[in-house]
């Protein structure tokens, strides 16, 4: 069915996702449960709309690859290097600690019942010790926890598992028989290939990718840039797979190498929707592949295995959480996100079954156990949210003193021209690092040389704003030259990010009113204040005292703002606008004239006879 009619297949998948995910979200269960539920529903044990989930599972695994590319994009090489200890230290503790515990428990359980099969116990222990990167990182993203210490710990452990999965898969066939024949030469050749590919990716990423991307960006064809982004990930993945390495790991490497490039945000924006859909598909496929026949034939054993391995992994993670140490309220999420079995587990069991290390029924039993644990994860999270975390948060209850210092909240500056630049420089000087967005490839390059965080991209694109962090940012500075674009961005922001404080630059009065009518509150006319400063200087040069010139300029400014406000309803009607402007100017002139008269009179009264041109 999948091959004969991809249209009906697509129809089923999309419809299931579109119905199930919002429903699950609405019930407060999170999108992953929605996808899994949709999978169970349309799979062989539900409505039987899809009968062979395995193909889909393989295809959808590419979602995990894309996700790791995106995770890599967020991690600059420097930060990855800082993470080396958590990755190799804590990652190994989790993987080998859990595997050893489960091996022991498995052997003990077997010796009491069926008899010892150490191969099965070993494969099961190793396979179940792996966690689901897709769920772990998916939940972290969904809940915006990536930058917490528990988020970083989950990422570290997941990365180690990705690295460790490669030798694990390579070693599995060796368990099959004693006469495993790994020829020495082949091994060396393979190792050389692996090193070659990694070197290619690192060097290529460092030296070739940025110029190539700049060249593509200059062509000004957005869809080609999207194509290039996908091509980049697919090519890296293919390269890695050709030498038997994890595709996800390769994509992650490519991501890290591009994390410092100015195209990072654009790449993220382009890849994100593909990742989201494929990852959703992946979860649907996991839901479909739960073999309920196996589950139902041995329900008690299944429950025992799932609960048993979850508890053992919890124990290891609990010890890790205490010794790291993670803040108590973050520990439950950390434990839950790494406790379930993962997609690598599927591969481990399938490979083991193919190599004859374990039997096919045992393999599908274990696959089902992993799938069920994945299904349980979001449910456990909901439970933890409701009952456990509030308590822990209360316990650790250090009541923070009210924050009076401005936090390093993110600021986005759209348009890195002369205007946005000055705004950015003041922010920079105060330790705030704004994100600059511009679509001029040349000027971006110049800024980057001065160490700014500048990203290539068109701020009128909603998805790009989102990736630039519009959801988390507090302020967006709208400093774009082009009036039409500026208005377009203002509309987008007001509609989609109502929490953002828009600070806008207006080119002229028309632009000012257009922004104001949209509901933008903080607008500055770009030449107004500098012109006033010049006017002050003129007055000073004519003999006014500096402080008096300042006071007059400031009062002119205030009057002008009030006037601007009064004329707002008239801005479409040019005649009325001009009339009102004239009237306002006259009022101010009269006011100033009267004040000069009063002052002159007082001087005369006080017997001041000095000639003074100011009061004429």
């Amino acid at each position: 069915m999948e091959h004969t009619s991809w249209l009906s297949g697509t129809l089923v998948y999309l419809a299931a996702a579109v119905i199930a995910v919002p429903l699950a979200k609405f019930l407060g269960l999170g999108s992953i449960i929605g996808y899994l539920g949709a999978g169970i529903l349309i799979g062989p044990w539900g409505l039987k709309l899809v009968t062979d989930p395995q193909d889909m599972l393989h295809f959808a695994e590419f979602g995990v690859v894309l996700m790791l590319f995106l995770v890599g994009l967020e991690l600059e090489p420097r930060r990855l290097w800082q993470l080396r200890k958590p990755i190799f230290g804590w990652g190994s503790v989790q993987l080998f600690g859990s595997a050893a515990l489960m091996l022991g428990a498995g052997l003990a359980a077997m010796s009491m019942t069926t008899g010892v099969d150490w191969r099965l116990a070993l494969v099961a222990a190793v396979g179940l010790a792996l966690s689901s990167t897709a769920i772990g990182l998916g939940v972290l993203n969904e809940r915006n926890l990536m930058n917490t210490s528990s988020g970083q710990s989950v990422l570290s452990v997941s990365l180690l598992q990705d690295v460790a999965a490669i030798p694990l898969l390579a070693l599995l066939p060796l368990l099959a028989a004693a006469d495993a024949q790994a020829s020495e030469g082949g091994g060396w050749l393979a190792a050389a290939k692996v090193l070659g590919v990694i070197a290619t990716i690192v060097l290529g990423g460092r030296l070739l990718l940025r110029p190539a991307l700049r060249w593509i960006a200059r062509s000004d064809t957005p869809e080609i840039f999207t194509a290039a982004s996908l091509l980049l990930v697919v090519a890296t993945a293919a390269l890695m797979q050709s030498v038997g390495l994890s595709m996800a790991l390769g994509a992650f490497l490519a991501g890290v190498l591009l994390a410092e490039s100015e195209y990072r945000r654009e790449l993220e924006t382009d890849i994100e929707p593909f990742k989201g859909l494929l990852l959703g598909l992946f979860f649907i496929a996991v839901g479909m592949s739960i073999d309920f026949k196996v589950v139902l034939s041995q329900p008690l054993l299944m429950a025992g295995v799932v609960l048993g391995f979850l508890l053992l992994k919890f124990a290891v993670l609990w010890v890790m959480g205490r010794t790291m140490p993670l803040p108590p309220p973050e520990r439950p999420v950390f434990m839950i996100l790494l406790a379930q079995g993962g997609e690598f587990g599927f591969v481990v069991f399938q490979t083991a079954a193919q190599a004859g290390v374990i039997s096919a029924p045992a393999s599908s039993f274990l696959v089902a156990a992993v799938a069920i644990s994945m299904l349980l994860t979001p449910l456990l999270l909901v439970a933890a949210d409701r009952w456990v975390i509030p308590k822990l948060a209360g316990q650790s209850g250090r009541s923070e003193p009210e924050i009076s210092e401005p936090q390093n909240q993110s600021v986005i500056i759209a348009g890195s021209g002369r205007y946005g630049q000055i705004v950015g420089r003041l922010l920079f000087a105060n330790g705030i690092k704004p994100t600059l967005l511009d679509h001029d490839a040349e000027s971006i390059e110049a800024f980057r040389r001065f160490g700014w965080r500048v990203f290539y991209g068109d701020a009128t694109r909603l998805d790009l704003l989102r990736v630039a962090g519009a959801e988390k940012a507090k302020v967006l500075v709208l400093a774009i030259d082009d009036m039409e674009q500026s208005i377009e961005v203002a509309k987008l922001v007001l509609q989609h990010f109502p929490h953002l404080h828009l600070v806008a630059r207006a080119r002229n009065a028309e632009h000012y009113y257009a922004l104001r009518n949209l509901g933008v509150r903080f607008i500055e006319r770009e030449t107004f204040d500098s012109a006033l400063m010049s006017a002050r200087t003129v007055l000073e040069n004519l003999g006014w005292l500096p402080h008096q010139a300042r006071t007059l300029a400031m009062r002119f400014r205030r009057h002008n703002l009030v006037q601007l406000d009064k004329m707002a309803p008239l801005w479409k009607d040019e005649d009325k606008l001009i009339a009102a402007a004239k009237q306002g100017r006259q009022q101010l002139e009269e006011l100033f004239a009267q004040e000069r008269g009063d002052a002159a009179q007082r001087k005369v009264k006080a017997g001041w006879s000095g000639e003074d041109e100011k009061t004429v």
């Binding site: 009076s404 210092e405 005292l545 402080h547 008096q548 006071t551 400031m554 009062r555 205030r558 006011l591 009267q594 004040e595 009063d598 002052a599 007082r602 001087k603 009264k605 006080a606 001041w608």
Partner: protein, 208 residues
């Protein structure tokens, strides 16, 4: 009405606390001058209107160099204008009460002839008292918090609570019953302040 003037409120524990306490009293209007006029361009008309509507006016600020803070001084200069607050026809504030609520950095015992501040704190009050008197306002017993940097959290909370309590119970303060009306300071028409540039500005500002 509480008029606050603290140039760096972000670093102030005591005054922030006091403001919060005052804001919680329903009938109190707090005007934070440094927030309203960060550019020192006081809206004189708005401030005069706010003063006219009040019966009790609180001047809340930290003591800087034995005096008020710069924006509060500018506020006096511009808002308490000739012909409005004092002088001929200057009756706008007559009969109102002024209450100074101030904090000092130095501890109480530093305001002593034997210590580094050399005077009892009362010695620094006459300019305030006379400003009030010239405008026909009664100057109530000030509420002071000395050593505001070192004061404990509990003492601060107590002080703020008392502040709020006094604000909400005004004008039913026991001491007000015995307080005499303000002495009348009549400024004759001929005693206009001498003309210098500052007064000129003052005149300009008053008309806006």
């Amino acid at each position: 009405m509480v008029i606050v003037a603290h140039p760096s409120l972000e670093q102030s524990r005591a005054n922030s606390h006091l403001i919060q306490a005052a804001r919680q009293v329903p009938k109190v209007q707090v005007r934070d001058l440094y927030a309203l006029y960060p550019d020192y361009l006081i809206d004189v008309a708005a401030e005069q209107a706010a003063l006219s509507a009040a019966t009790l006016v609180v001047w809340q600020h930290p003591i800087h160099w034995y005096s008020t803070t710069p924006l509060m001084k500018l506020y006096f200069d511009e808002v308490l204008a000739f012909n409005w607050a004092y002088g001929p026809g200057g009756n706008a504030l007559r009969g109102k009460d002024i209450w100074l609520v101030a904090t000092t950095g130095g501890p109480e015992d530093s305001y002593h002839p034997a210590s580094y501040n050399r005077y009892f704190f009362d010695a620094f009050l006459p300019p305030y008292e006379q400003t009030a008197a010239l405008c026909g306002m009664r100057f109530l017993q000030p509420m002071l918090l000395h050593g505001a940097h070192q004061v404990s959290e509990t003492a601060l909370t107590e002080h703020s609570a008392m502040y709020a309590q006094r604000l909400s119970s005004y004008p039913d303060w026991p001491e007000l019953a015995d307080l005499e009306d303000c002495i009348d300071c009549h400024v004759p028409e001929t005693a206009r302040p001498s003309v210098d540039s500052l007064d000129e500005d003052q005149m300009l500002q008053a008309r806006v």
